[in-house]
Symmetry: C2
């Protein structure tokens, strides 16, 4: 299942409420992130793919994944964080077959090479089949303070999953010093939010930690799978009252404490494309003193400049003497910043909302 | 007379072939440069104002100066440099009255305070009445290598023009060292291309230096002033063959050599708004770490940024962590550069022309 939520505020004005991050091609691959996610999964899952996304994105998601059956496109009336989205998918699938092993892979991540990813998913599935919630942890390449970490434990001996290990615990985003210790120790992996697990085990932990949320999702799932077309009414009635919480708190961490979580290390590059600095990183210019240009119809002139320009219009963009610049050109909003200030885009969006410029958010 | 020519390439994409510099408000005054020029002159000249501009700018100029009589709006079929434009104005005025003293003040200059300018023009007119071509030279405030200089000579003793002096010679744009010597000596003034002179004296020198150009302009002027409406036909026939040359070479320098040129120093600030660095200079932000914003409908968010943003659209522009930046946002083209690179805009325009992007030039 693919949870397709989150606006990607730090990618404004490209990413916005009605055109979130996962609907964009941020890697110059010619493919949107959600389509890339689908294509990465399809060789493993065939047509058994479910997407959970906001109601407003229904048409856009179907344009990206026309293969999706209506029954496998779950539409949230409003954002409720990951526990509700993933829990609902688990509840629906459990009604189809309680034995199902589900993988959850967010719609807005960039992964390469695909082969290494698929191998990790296969190991995770084999491990999940022994009754584990299995995260795929990323081998850290630098001491990031922007990700949570997974402390790995003892090696598990599972057929088809030679690298699977027990998870000792999840840890929150660390400070710089702690992050460095984590990386040096070799005992920690980045928590990329990817996991494979029996739906029954997910639901069991959800029921224990968040019984009301579990009950609500179960009722919605029953209506979803019923033939009597009451799903819309039930969703409209129950969804607004559901608790907003992350799957990490509602399932993963309590499950780890109970010894039910394993990890398979992923030796692939992984990026959640959090800001324009990530886009510059993922789309390196060929030469040092050069601009990275994204956009099918880009008309860019660059002189003595470096950085990234994202063209969502047909306008000519001329860049002269600007280093590490980030220019994002859209019909109704323009962003000019630098890769060093990419994180500050979030504050800009908040300030624009306060100023009453929500029409461009 | 107001010569209104020149695209202002370094001010692209604001200034362009069909919307040149003089049709913009570049000072945040609420007034276009050409209207500002007219209003600066009107208290001295009343309605006796002539504009020479390109045919394509006819309607735009009339919108800016509705006071203009059709007979005083001379339209060039193509750009022919300043000798043809100013020479034609002189030839037309000479047919109206050979005694006329004409002042020539380009449409795209910024001058303050107006009182000091008008006082200099009055002195220049009094000096011109004694049979001189009188330039108004600007007292240099720094050793500019971007302007030509005027070497002043002996003081003239003229009623109503206490500061008038003979001009020894004009000198081309100097190197840095020479410019510094000029400024230190106190003997040099910037050549701002402003002058006041009897039309007969202008034409006399033009006839000597460029007899063919003089003959062509005389014939056009005759047709212009005739009642038989042949002006258009004569203009179309003669104009294309006229020599392209600057008034400096065709009149001012030979006249100086002949001892016919005087100078009145102008103790006012003067800027020809040559590039976006000039716009930043002319529109200082109130606080150091702040953006200068030009544009009636600007919607700008600025954080940790300085420089100038010119908004020719209603788009939201967000600037984060960019220093001394220049952003010019128009419907079909966007420029991002720094005040230090403002001169390089000219090369960008040339490169875009070569690339075939002339639609935005």
């Amino acid at each position: 299942m693919i949870p397709a939520g989150g606006v990607g505020t730090r990618l404004w004005p490209l990413s916005r409420a009605n055109a979130p991050k996962f609907l964009h091609d941020l890697t110059g691959s010619g493919t949107t992130l959600i389509r890339g996610t689908y294509e990465r999964m399809a060789p493993l899952t065939g047509e058994r793919v479910m997407v959970v996304t906001g109601e407003v994105h229904r048409d856009a998601v179907l344009r990206q994944i026309p293969e999706l059956d209506d029954h496998d496109l779950v539409l949230e009336p409003s954002p409720k964080d990951s526990a509700a989205a993933i829990g609902l998918a688990a509840a629906i699938l459990a009604r189809r077959d309680p034995q199902i092993i589900m993988g959850s892979f967010a719609a807005d991540q960039v992964i390469a090479p695909v082969g290494a990813f698929q191998e990790a998913v296969r190991e995770a599935a084999a491990t999940a089949a022994t009754g584990k919630i299995v995260t795929i942890g990323i081998t850290p390449t630098y001491p990031s303070t922007g990700f949570g970490y997974i402390r790995r434990g003892a090696k598990l001996e599972i057929d088809g999953a030679p690298s699977a290990r027990q998870v000792e615990r999840f840890v929150e985003k660390p400070g710089e010093e702690t992050a460095q210790q984590y990386v040096d120790s070799g005992e920690y992996l980045w928590n990329a939010g990817m996991f494979v697990a029996p739906v029954s085990l997910i639901l069991e932990h959800l029921r224990r930690a968040e019984p009301e949320l579990h009950a609500g999702l179960t009722e919605i799932a029953e209506a979803w799978e019923a033939e009597d077309r009451t799903a819309e009414e039930v969703m409209a009635r129950l969804w607004p009252s559901l608790k907003k919480t992350a799957i990490d708190y509602a399932v993963a961490e309590p499950a780890a404490d109970a010894g039910d979580v394993a990890v398979v290390p992923g030796d692939f590059t992984w990026d959640d494309v959090g800001d324009f600095a990530a886009i510059a990183r993922l789309n390196p210019a060929e030469h040092e003193d050069e601009m990275t240009v994204l956009g099918d119809q880009a008309r860019v002139y660059s002189d003595q400049s470096s950085g990234v320009v994202v063209c969502d219009t047909r306008r000519v963009v001329a860049l002269i003497g600007v280093q590490d610049i980030v220019v994002v050109d859209t019909d109704d909003a323009l962003l000019v910043t630098t890769t060093d200030h990419a994180q500050a885009v979030k504050q800009a969006v908040e300030a624009l909302r306060e100023k009453g410029d929500s029409d461009v958010l």
